[in-house]
């Protein structure tokens, strides 16, 4: 059976998702994802389009609340969950000079 998604495509999608895969994992995922994507053929072939009312059906008056000033969470309590902190900042590896 020809795969719906190739190993190269899986590796590309993994890279976009910031995931590393071993060659064996890429092969297994390509096989499994192909089965799932094949199942989607039933909607792929539908002659359907979405009208704007449906596209935005979840954007309504619920999204709005009064613009009041309130206390935010304490900075310390948020930083407490971080893997690496320096003073009041999240510490990360260098960004400049990345050869990606």
């Amino acid at each position: 059976m020809s795969e719906k998604i190739s190993i190269d495509e899986v590796l590309h999608v993994a890279a976009l998702s910031r995931l590393r895969l071993t060659p064996t994992e890429a092969e297994v995922f390509a096989r499994q994802l192909s089965v799932v994507i094949s199942h989607m053929a039933d909607i792929e072939s539908l002659d359907l389009s979405l009208d704007d009312e449906e596209r935005y059906s979840y954007v309504d008056e619920r999204a709005l609340r009064d613009d009041d000033t309130k206390d935010s969470m304490k900075r310390e309590s948020i930083l407490r969950g971080a893997p690496l902190v320096e003073e009041y900042m999240f510490r990360v590896p260098p960004i400049l000079g990345e050869g990606v």
């Binding site: 910031r18 989607m40 359907l48 969950g81 590896p93």
Partner: protein
């Protein structure tokens, strides 16, 4: 008091606490004893701290003694699925990427339970980030079905359903994105409710697929599920999708009956299940008819497209929601030579296979060239399903069908076949796509001794009618079938 508090329903238990017939500390000691007895073989909890529970109990006992106002859940144990944040307990979503994380706040539902005097007894196991139908995808442990330890409890809220079924808690919270409350409730022989989208606040629920996720109750009885939903069903300004206005009363629906209710059996849903499950749905229909309901079969062809639409939309939203796990602000960090390298190392090591599969599937469906082919089509299909349901609801008040196509399957049976696993959600997914509420009610045991659940579905905000019919089905099960409780 002679009886074990865990044999009582939530209503009677809070009443007994209020009238000082039983103390909250006694309740907690019963919970601890039951957890010591059942948890080693079931593995429902990811976090359970007896000492902390006893402390909380004595604080509540003092309040009751002083005559302070306590809420409707006073002294009632509530187990919380570990994808809802708790400031006094770790929250992992059953993922290594959040191991040891202590959230800085409580989810709105947790706050509401505490305000009502409820006792959050612990955090329950789930499929990692709620992605799964068996609770085998947890990074920490596999939960077992209290009815048969070789079987799965369903998922993703398998820990919550198993904890209630095994009487380690009286109530529990689950979350339902494609059936994750109803399917485990069905497989464990308890009641599970997925409310209308926006009925319960999602603030503090770790997001999987935000347009589908909804928190709801798991309980041993319909009345207890109604009580818990009355407590957690509140408008929340912190959730932009929270429905405006008051929620209706539900417990009072106990005595309403089903006289003249128009109930449709969705043929496409019963077509997809085992003979035994199908027979039980028709039996439920016949019994409801005897009680005065008007039952007929109805076709809703679009529901057969639900699975495909769901497995595009949910992974697409998950791929975006889970991009926040990058090793910077919380949870696991695996070092790398650069920032990007750290992202790769952290996510590769922190996520399990099913989560990786769904992130990649979502990224693929959203990538250029495939967006219209998959994501656009899936959204349009979702619209079609909702429209078709709403057409059907012009002729019917509620719909009836199976919750799960089969009874609980063996641990390991489907874990290497994602598509076979996804098929478990075929009867539950349509309600999530439509945003509609649905309830799973235990309806006796199959020949293999495992519970069968039947599902009632309704249109937006039909919770009062759903509960009305659920109460009747519960009475009918009690009168006609073997007790499905473990």
């Amino acid at each position: 008091m002679e009886v074990n508090p865990l044999d009582l329903d939530a209503y009677s238990l809070s009443g007994a606490v209020l009238s000082k017939e039983i103390s909250v500390s006694e309740v907690v000691r019963s919970v601890i004893a039951q957890v010591e007895l059942r948890e080693p073989s079931i593995s429902a909890f990811l976090h359970f701290d007896p000492e902390a529970l006893l402390e909380k109990a004595s604080v509540l006992d003092e309040k009751v003694l002083r005559g302070e106002t306590v809420g409707r859940l006073v002294g009632v144990p509530v187990a919380v699925k570990d994808n809802m944040v708790t400031s006094d307990m770790p929250t992992t979503a059953a993922s290594k990427i959040l191991e040891g994380w202590r959230p800085p706040y409580d989810a709105t539902v947790v706050e509401l339970i505490k305000d009502a005097g409820g006792l959050v007894v612990g955090k329950t196991n789930l499929d990692e980030f709620a992605m799964g139908s068996s609770t085998e995808n947890s990074a920490y442990k596999v939960t077992r079905n209290p009815h048969d330890l070789s079987k799965v409890p369903g998922g993703s809220s398998g820990g919550s359903a198993a904890a209630v079924a095994a009487r380690m808690s009286i109530l529990a919270l689950g979350s339902d994105t494609g059936g994750s409350i109803r399917q485990p409730a069905s497989l464990c022989g308890v009641v599970g409710v997925k409310p209308t989208y926006g009925y319960v606040s999602r603030y503090g629920l770790i997001a999987f697929a935000s347009s589908l996720d909804q928190i709801g109750p798991i309980a041993r009885t319909v009345k207890d599920a109604a009580l818990l939903l009355e407590v957690i069903g509140e408008r929340d300004p912190k959730d932009s999708t929270s429905i405006l206005g008051e929620r209706p009363k539900l417990v009072e629906r106990e005595a309403f009956g089903v006289e003249s209710l128009r109930i449709g059996i969705v043929s496409e849903l019963v077509d997809n299940c085992s003979t035994e499950v199908r027979d039980r749905v028709f039996m439920a229909a016949r019994l409801l008819e005897e009680r005065g309901a008007k039952v007929d079969t109805v076709s809703a062809k679009a529901v057969t497209l639900g699975l495909s639409a769901y497995y595009v939309i949910a992974p697409a939203e998950a791929s975006s929601n889970l991009s926040r796990y990058d090793g910077v602000r919380f949870g696991l960090r695996k070092d790398g030579s650069s920032l990007t390298d750290m992202f790769f190392s952290t996510r590769t090591e922190g996520f399990g296979d099913e989560v990786k599969r769904r992130i990649m599937l979502g990224t693929y469906a959203l990538s250029s060239g495939y967006y219209d082919q998959y994501y656009g089509k899936a959204l349009a299909t979702r619209g079609l399903i909702r429209r078709q349901f709403n057409e059907v609801y012009k002729d019917f008040d509620l719909l009836l069908g199976p919750t799960s196509p089969t009874t609980a399957f063996a641990i390991g049976e489907k874990s290497n076949d994602p598509m076979a696993m996804y098929m478990n959600d075929i009867c539950t997914i349509p309600s999530n796509l439509a945003g509609h509420p649905a309830v799973s009610i235990p309806f006796g045991l199959a020949d293999n001794g495992l519970p069968i659940g039947v599902q009632l579905l309704g249109p937006d905000m039909s919770e009062p009618l759903l509960f009305q019919a659920a109460f009747e089905l519960e009475r009918l099960a009690k009168e006609n079938l073997e007790d499905a409780r473990a």
